[in-house]
């Protein structure tokens, strides 16, 4: 009896026929054996995938036109994911301590730039991506305005969007302090000095933001926690509402 090793295509077929493979990819997945390019399987491909099911099965054709959305909302979300991933990487190499005499935060920044494998590159991605996200969120808002997509029944989702814009600025600004270099503390000093002019609660506002009278180690700890945990958490909550309301309000807004 001659035993012939299976060809790669046979092996692929057997793999895709296995119970393990079928348990991972739900019916309609394009990776599953027997996917047919029919309306039904196309619908299942969207519905039976945890990422894609944020989408409806079908969308209005005009919404696909690049010049209608410029993909700005989706790209803002993608940048948020990218910033989360690169941010987690950076967290492994960064300590938010800036005590007098030994600014660990700044030393760690230098370490990321010089000794960490791909550290400089990932930091660049994080920083440029962050600026780009502020930009794309602002442009997304302009796009929504120009297409009149905030009109009923989408009023509330516009308000959620304004909150998301505010949170995006907050995330970017809190991240700005973390390198603990001259650029960081003076930009933050200028930016937060305005809070000292709030009516009635100037001192309280200043203390709330800085954890002291001037930008110092307490500020760094405070802004670090806001940057890596508190603000992303709140942002994700509002993001969920934002996406959910898009679907509930009837998908993409009408053509012009």
């Amino acid at each position: 009896m001659k035993l012939k090793p299976p060809s790669p295509s046979e092996l692929g077929d057997r793999l895709r026929d296995s119970e393990v493979w079928k348990s991972i990819f739900r019916p309609g997945s394009i990776f599953r054996k027997g996917y047919k390019d029919t309306s039904r399987d196309r619908a299942l491909a969207t519905m039976n995938n945890v990422l894609y099911h944020l989408h409806p099965v079908k969308v209005k054709r005009h919404g696909l036109k690049l010049t209608y959305t410029f993909c700005l909302g989706g790209l803002s979300f993608f940048l948020f994911i990218l910033l989360t991933v690169t941010g987690i990487f950076l967290m492994f190499f960064y300590r938010q301590q800036a005590d007098i005499g030994g600014a660990q935060a700044y030393t760690d920044m230098q370490g990321i730039r010089t000794t960490v494998f791909f550290g400089d590159f990932v930091r660049n991605l994080h920083r440029w991506g962050a600026h780009l996200m502020v930009f794309s969120v602002a442009l997304h808002m302009a796009r929504v305005f120009y297409t009149g997509a905030y009109k009923p029944p989408r009023e509330f989702n516009w308000v959620v969007g304004v909150i998301l814009l505010f949170l995006t600025l907050g995330l970017s600004f809190t991240g700005y302090l973390l390198p603990w270099d001259q650029l960081a503390i003076w930009a933050v000093t200028v930016g937060t000095s305005l809070a000292g002019y709030s009516p009635f609660i100037a001192k309280q506002m200043n203390f709330l933001l800085l954890g002291g009278v001037v930008v110092g180690p307490e500020t760094l700890l405070r802004w670090y926690v806001l940057h890596v945990l508190a603000l992303p958490f709140v942002l994700v909550l509002f993001l969920a509402v934002h996406f959910w309301r898009i679907r509930k309000d009837g998908g993409i807004s009408g053509p012009l």
Binding site: T46, Y106, H131, D181, A184
Partner: protein, 275 residues
Amino acid sequence: MAREDTPLDQEVFDRVLKEQLDAGTDKRVAEGRARSAAVRAYKTAHPEEEAAPAAAPAAGGNGEAQAPAAAAATPAAAPAQAAMVAAAPASAPTRTAPLPTGNIPTPKKGAPDKHRLLALVPPEGIQRVEREQGDRVNVWPHLLIEEFVAMFVLSVGLVVFSTFLNAPLRELANANLTPNPSKAPWYFLGLQELLRYFHPMVAGISIPTFILVGLAAVPFVDRNPSTRPGDRKIALTLFTMMFMFGAVLTIIGSFFRGPGYNWVWPWAQGVFFDL
């Protein structure tokens, strides 16, 4: 269609329809209300017809909810229950649900552990909802491929940019050494520019608050339902002006301000700007 066969009082239908339309109700809603009123009027006038043909619409296969429900009930019980429920409106025109007692009902002894649902929808309760399917395309592949390409292009751009351009890292923070000029991050430079002209209370507190609250209020202020650019000239002009105003201030703050936050020409004295 069983719905069309439901007897109704044509006079009442015409009268209510006219009333509703005169009151400015949408035509479809008005028709639905008129039909509902007319069917009810007919039933009150002909109580004797209630019991006999009540099962007919249910068996007619019109309502998707009705036919399976009737089939699910045991054959013997179905007509009796149907008659009972259908007869109810004649004696009690307004139906109210029983008040909650707080007692959780326990299943009777010997009750089958399957549970059955019986739903009877009175014909006047059926509203036909028509929605334009419109010109729609499948998300997979059309939208998902577009999203993928957008993501890919952005990623490549960002990777190339990050490979060749390093993010700035200046010398260690020093609270005693103020750099000249000291600038906020670029998205706040519009506000910093305003500080040149207004009291900090105005530039730093009042105007940002006004911008945020004003933005959130946009959909509640602009009640014009049209999305056609031709119908929204004022809204578009105002928004464009505000957006441009912010952009110009930001650009001035970024590139045209140098040491001492004084005016510089970026091509002559250089750029004092960090990202």
